[in-house]
């Protein structure tokens, strides 16, 4: 028998073992090592890698060979560059999430997850190990592809920096893809289901990103910097070389990518850890910190985009508001999973650690979360709205005041509706047992609110034979906010009443939201109080039992000089 399994059963449990783990830094994440050992025995890996690499090489050579007959080598190099990195992008954005998606879910499905938890590894450590493992795996693909990727460089037409930047970007997509797959995986117990869901989402996102952020934006960037080819999906790495340094360079090539990477990556990280932790843990603080930092960040990005918008400033402001609203709606969905109040574990921890008021506010609790989302959301929408209005007035022009009014009305409607969303979400959560039903209801409410009034309007229009007044019926739909922007400049006779209808509808949403939030608050505090009372009752009962037990011990005649517990107390 050697050290570990030693007689006596280890050290006394009370000696601050909480610190042992952190005091002895581990060399490498054990999960990572294990996954690598497993991967090394997976004989398919090298075959897959070899097949993929040779296929890519052959494809590139074929394209290069055919193209070089009629085209200048520099042109061929650029085309090959686009083709290669488009394919590599596809490989990374499809394979990376899929690899990561199976990891945590397979531990759950394979009944190894609990053994892992019981080792005392924290969800953070597990997540890091899994993340590193999946990233290493996808990294192997990228490394294998690297020599093929250098091929276009040989033709000329692209610089070495452009190739390197493209690989860096590939790395960023790999990180995001792995983080996404992991966050899905952490919520599933079956790895097949996790992979399917991940692939469904990531493939769509991948295509949308390719067409939107790749091909789409390249035209705008080409206007700005003519060196960047219009319609070339892999424009970004070339823009770092070909763009002219300035405010736009920083905004488009530094600030925007940072926001686009950090906001989702951080969210996925916190979300993964929260889904892996037990429900009694504090699963809220991380996501709330993310919200607290990222809402201003996204707002800032939206505001920053306003001045560079080419024409129709009010439309740009509306677009910025819509983007912000989408982000905030996402936040509402995140908060819909919030527990009504902190668990006993969390409470005890707070008391032990002397948690600050802010710390507790960020912790689990439906009302904390809802008020925070509401406050942040109103602040963000107000900022964008005010920025939009100020920009309109500052730019001047004949329609400045009308446009300013348009922006103000639009933002105000959106903000009011957002107030309803938060209130409704909180109310659903306070009534439901879990997190999925409130989210489902929230989605349903959005759909009904957006489309319902228009359907009703269509019906009303049929009944009233297309009188313009029937638009009033549509006023509760948030889409009406866009219609209001049009109304402001119109000269219709019903203009006033239709605008008024919109304002009343917006106010209605806000009032409804506040009322629902109030109801949710009352309900939540009732439930929390009941929970606390139940704990107190149990505690009292246990205490009474203990007291009775002590009394019984005291009755037993004790040896001389031995005092009973009563006397000591």
């Amino acid at each position: 028998m050697t050290s570990g399994v030693a007689p006596g059963g280890g050290a006394p449990a009370s000696v601050g073992e909480g610190h042992v783990r952190s005091a002895a830094p581990r060399r490498l994440n054990p999960i990572w090592i294990r996954e690598m050992q497993q991967a090394a025995r997976f004989t398919m890996t090298p075959i897959l890698l070899a097949v993929l690499t040779s296929a890519m090489a052959l494809l590139l050579c074929a394209i290069g060979g055919i193209a070089s007959v009629s085209t200048a080598p520099a042109e061929v190099g650029h085309v090959l560059y686009q083709v290669f990195f488009s394919l590599a992008y596809a490989v990374v954005t499809w394979i990376a999430p899929a690899i990561a998606a199976s990891t945590v879910a397979s531990e759950r499905g394979g009944r190894t997850w609990e053994a892992l938890l019981l080792t005392g590894m924290t969800p953070t450590e597990v997540a890091r190990g899994k993340f590193l493992a999946a990233l290493t795996y996808i990294g192997a693909y990228v490394v294998m592809l690297a020599p093929v990727g250098a091929l276009p460089f040989l033709f000329g037409g692209v610089t070495a920096v452009e190739v390197v930047m493209a690989f860096v970007l590939l790395g960023v997509f790999a990180v995001l893809g792995v983080a996404f797959g992991l966050s899905v995986s952490a919520r599933f117990t079956s790895s097949a289901a996790a992979v399917v869901v991940t692939l469904l989402v990531s493939s769509n996102l991948s295509i949308a990103g390719y067409l939107g952020l790749g091909v789409g934006i390249s035209f705008g960037v080409h206007e700005l910097w003519s060196g960047v080819t219009a319609g070339a999906p892999v424009w970004m790495p070339t823009a770092y070389v070909r763009g002219d340094f300035g405010l736009e360079y920083v905004a488009i090539l530094v600030f925007a990518p940072l926001v686009f990477t950090l906001v989702p990556a951080w969210f996925l990280y916190e979300g993964t850890i929260a889904s892996m932790a037990s429900p009694s843990e504090d699963r809220s603080s991380g996501l709330r910190r993310w919200l607290m930092v990222c809402t201003p960040l996204v707002t800032l990005a939206c505001v920053a985009a306003l001045p560079v918008a080419p024409s129709d400033e009010f439309a740009a402001a509306a677009l910025a508001t819509t983007v912000l609203w989408t982000f905030l709606t996402f936040a509402v969905f995140v908060v819909a999973g919030e527990p009504l109040g902190p668990s006993r574990r969390v409470r005890v921890r707070w008391d032990r650690e002397g948690a600050t008021r802010l710390g507790r506010y960020l912790g689990p609790g439906l009302m904390n979360a809802s008020t925070m989302v509401l406050g942040l959301g109103f602040g963000a929408l107000l900022t964008v709205g005010v920025a939009g209005v100020v920009l309109e007035l500052w730019r001047g022009g004949p329609s400045a005041e009308v446009d300013a009014l348009r922006v103000a009305l639009f933002t105000a409607y959106v903000a009011s509706f957002f107030g309803f969303q938060v209130g409704f979400g909180a109310w659903c959560r306070s009534r439901a047992g879990g997190a999925s039903l409130p989210r489902f209801l929230q989605a349903g409410a959005l759909l009904v609110a957006f489309l319902g009034p228009w359907v009703l309007m269509a019906i009303a229009g049929l009944l009233t034979r297309g009188a313009d007044g029937s638009y009033v019926v549509a006023s509760p739909s948030p889409v009406y906010a866009a219609y209001m922007m049009e109304l402001v400049a119109s000269t219709r006779p019903e203009r006033e009443s239709l605008l008024l209808a919109g304002v009343v509808a917006a106010l209605g949403w806000l009032v409804l939201g506040v009322a629902l939030l109030g109801a949710a608050g009352r309900r939540a505090s009732k439930v929390v109080a009941e929970h606390a009372a139940a704990i107190a009752r149990l505690e009292a009962a246990l205490e009474a039992e203990d007291a009775a037990a002590r009394e019984e011990v005291e009755v037993v005649p004790s040896a001389p000089g031995v005092r009973g517990p009563r006397e000591l107390a």
Binding site: T2, G9, S14, G18, T112, A115, S280, S343, V348
Partner: protein
């Protein structure tokens, strides 16, 4: 939390379950379970399928949040300090998986590192203890169930936990492996581990356990050392027979939620939940009726008259192949007296077997065969 009350022998129970309730959907799976396991005990947890054993065990192992009640392991509340509890327990689930494409040694080294064990020599020790050394380079996925069970045991020994919680550790083992596991458990107890295990196989438990608890339909019916329970039941039977003292609920009282064992709140609040249940393993005063099996040379029927009517002897029954079943009241000394007496009368006593299935009898007596 771990503080002992000075001046008396109060200890921190290895496991203390108090008024534990659990519910799946609308079904109460555990109803007011109370039990206490002292350090150094081997506690056997028995019950029909679906009684709630695994549920109780998972709460102890911090994997399931108790809905009501308090569960303490080594003085730490499982719902407040799961991290600390995890450090002192080794939990082996009833059906665990293993990783693909990894050898036994790698598997154990991985867990040793995950546990944060500074020295990987523990892997060798664990391999040694579970007799897996010769197989250390085999892939774990290719192991038989029994081997996996051993591997599971090796895994939970790596961080040197004080308390082992085993859910049906012998369920997939062959008879030989079962005996080996039993010896291993005794060995582990020797080196100071407390062991809590659930099982269906009663004879196996009665061989190793210092105490047992019987769970049925989410209620703990009885708990304590086997001899003591047996004693209590005999008393109970006597009381029931004479119709006295019905105030104390009989074990199978219809409809009452608290069918003895760990007394429930409400019923007998004055009685402490734990200690009365598992008060030591002291020899029992010989008031319970027991059975003994004897094998003698020659015809056993000839021996019956010798014993019948003797003080402390009840029904004596002659069985085939020179065997005798003797009912008696008394302790081991009494048995020795009987043997001495028979030998003195020239009877060739070949074998004396105490009743092996005492636990089985208890089990049948307190459970009603209802499933949930």
């Amino acid at each position: 939390m771990n503080a002992e009350v000075p001046g008396e022998s109060r200890f921190v129970p290895a496991i203390r379950v108090r008024h534990l309730w659990h519910r799946y959907g609308a079904q109460d799976v555990l109803r007011d379970v109370n039990l206490e396991v002292r350090p150094g005990e081997i506690f056997g947890f028995i019950g029909p399928n679906g009684a709630g054993k695994t549920t109780t065990i998972r709460v102890m192992a911090t994997l399931l949040e108790p809905m009501a009640g308090r569960v303490e392991v080594d003085g730490f509340d499982v719902s407040v300090d799961p991290e600390r509890v995890r450090k002192v327990i080794g939990y082996m689930p009833d059906h665990a998986g293993v990783y693909d494409r990894i050898t036994i040694r790698e598997y154990l080294e991985f867990f040793a590192q995950a546990f944060g064990v500074p020295d990987l020599a523990v892997v060798d020790a664990a391999l040694e203890l579970t007799d897996l050394r010769n197989l250390q380079d085999r892939l774990v996925a290719a192991l038989s169930k029994g081997m996996k069970q051993r591997l599971g045991l090796a895994r939970i020994l790596l961080h040197d936990p004080k308390i082992l919680i085993l859910d049906e550790p012998a369920s997939d083992l062959d008879p030989r492996a079962r005996i080996e596991i039993r010896d291993l458990l005794l060995e582990l107890r020797e080196i100071g581990k407390t062991i809590f295990l659930s099982s269906h196989i009663l004879t196996e438990l009665s061989d190793v356990c210092t105490s047992v608890g019987i769970l049925e339909r989410g209620r703990l019916l009885v708990a304590g050392p086997i001899a003591e329970i047996s004693e209590r039941l005999a008393e109970q039977r006597a009381r029931d027979a004479y119709g006295v003292d019905r105030a104390v609920a009989p074990p199978a009282a219809e409809g009452t939620a608290e069918a003895e064992g760990g007394p429930a709140v409400g019923a007998e609040p004055s009685e402490p939940a734990g200690p009365s249940v598992t008060a030591g393993g002291a020899p029992v005063p010989g008031s319970a009726r027991r059975r003994l099996k004897l094998r003698v040379l020659g015809d056993s029927r000839a021996v019956v008259p010798l014993l019948e009517g003797g003080a402390g002897i009840g029904v004596v029954e002659a069985l085939p192949a020179g065997q005798l079943a003797v009912e008696y009241v008394g302790d081991d000394r009494f048995v020795a007296d009987v043997v001495r007496y028979l030998v003195g009368r020239g009877v060739g006593v070949v074998a004396v077997e105490p009743e092996r299935n005492e636990l089985e009898r208890i089990f049948l007596e307190v459970t009603k065969g209802e499933l949930q």
